[in-house]
Amino acid sequence: MSFTDISNKYQLALGISPTPLMVVGHNGTILLTNQHFNLLFGYDEGELANKPVEVLVPDQIAAAHPELRQAFFELPTNRSMGTGRDLFGKHKDGRRIPIEIGLQPIGDGDEFTVLVSVVDITERKNNELRIRLALDASASAMIMIDDAGKIVLTNASAELMFGYDKDELIGRPVEDLVPERFRRKHSVYRTSYLNSRERRDMGMGRDLFGLNSNKSEFPIEIGLTPIDGVDGRRVVATINDITERKARDDLIKQKNIALTQLNEELTQFAYSASHDLKAPLSSIAGAMKICQQDVVDGDLEEVSDNLARAQKMAERLAQRIEDMLSLARADHAESDLRPISIPETVREVWANIGALDHPNEITLRTNFSHKDPIFTVGVRLIAILENLLSNAWKYRDQSKQKSEVLVETRSTDGNLILAVRDNGIGIPEDCHEKVFKLFQRFSDGANPGSGLGLALVQKNVRHLGGTIAFESSPDGTTFTATLPQYTEPVSQEAAE
């Protein structure tokens, strides 16, 4: 069929069609184009005639195109071109135009030609791009899955959050993003969500975790939206990484606990001030009044006795105030860890509490088997030892032939264990839970303590990051402090 024949046959039809159309001969020569086609590719009327169709093919593909074209002519069918791939035409000025192409064989035998219909999809591509840009602009990760749980769409935030390359997640099961231990449950939840299809948050208040490509977990929040689209049932998950928020929340929680504790201490302090600080003063006032009476009556011996009592009480009050201040100060001591000699510290503390003046009543034994160096805050360790050792001395069992206090140390995985064991009167069992509370005394000896010693011990142990426990029976008491030791000393200078 000649060009003129074709022209005559199709010109009218091509001319009135709103679709850009072209007729191509089996050797790849352009036979006919309509006005819309010329407009789309930027050619004048008739300008394309007799040119090879490759003038309309982008340069990258132009070389391979004749072979593809050949294949089509050997087995012509009515189909669209380049299924599944993005197709482009080449404008006269060289720019690429996104298009869709339909191929329709016309005639038969060696003489058949092909009617090529072209759809300009520039606008559609631009829309897709706009949506893509909007999706990628979202700070939240967005992942769309199909009803089998396969990922069909992700945005840039999702790829960034989970550590995957662009489109690397497409086609994977969404469970790849779920930590191993939740996977089985997750697939069940996913299936039942498909049936309920309501917009809601995932997890119903449980903590949720994502799994990134490095197999590490991070806390997330997920909103679910069902979409009934053209391809069937889909679910879009909007995911936010809440690592930072969680860290902030945890910090606030910790601060709250600390504040509550401080508040409790303050309340207790105010309450105790009305008892423990006022009581000795009331007693002194009472004693003074009696002294006045006795002076009038001339009973000077009684006056002397009562002045001595009042003086003792005043001293005790001074000590109590001193203890309260050290307790308050315990929150603000230095925190530099330095190497300390435990045997030396124990010796010094023991000498200071006055027990050495009574060698017939009490002996100190030691059994040090810890590994040096020990790093700690000196003033805190001293405060701990001072209170534990002076308790051992103060609450010795005077019915026993001889009292004994044993200080033992050892090192276990990262901890210094410090135990102070005595054979004293012990702490009554029903008082055990109050042992570390403020202003708790368990003995009514002639020289009562402030009831602050063990609270002070506990506070210092806690500031050193450790714990303290005790066992007590009428045969004696053992306090055991566990103080963490760090292999890397905090300051290099201290290590030398």
Binding site: S274, K278, A279, S283, A285, K289, M313, C431, F442, D444
Partner: protein, 140 residues
């Protein structure tokens, strides 16, 4: 009529002051001292010891009960007494319990006076005049 008085206080000086106030108050009292709350609570479980230390009631026993004591506080003693009264082991009308503390804390006062057998709340130190008034008020 000799009024039995129990001073329950761990502080020796306070017991001495109370004793002196009672002695010089020109009242007929017999004082028994308890050095701790649990020591006082203990005699309620031992009839013979109660009789030996306190004697036979009536007249009602006047109890000067300190609040802040080691092991068993004054409030815990009140709770122990309440149990004895509820179990009808002792008759509450035979006890006039006076809370006796250096604390003027409203909360302490309220806690103490919740027990109907606590008849008064006295702030330390006590002297002969105030003790005399107490006797007149509760035994007059």
């Amino acid at each position: 009529m000799t009024i039995p008085v129990a001073i329950v206080d761990d502080e020796e000086l306070d017991r001495y002051i109370a004793n002196r106030a009672i002695k010089s108050s020109d009242t007929d009292c017999k004082v028994v001292e308890f050095k701790a709350g649990d020591e006082f609570a203990h005699i309620f479980g031992d009839e013979a010891e109660f009789k030996e230390r306190i004697g036979t009631l009536p007249p009602p026993l006047l109890v000067l009960l300190d609040i802040n004591m080691p092991r068993m506080s004054g409030f815990e003693v009140l709770e122990a007494l309440k149990k004895k009264f509820d179990a009808k082991e002792y008759r509450p009308e035979l006890f006039i319990v006076l809370m006796y503390s250096s604390s003027n804390h409203a909360e302490d006062r309220a806690t103490a006076l919740e027990y109907d057998f606590v008849k008064d709340y006295i702030v330390k130190p006590i002297d002969q005049d105030s003790f005399k008034q107490l006797i007149e008020k509760h035994y007059g």
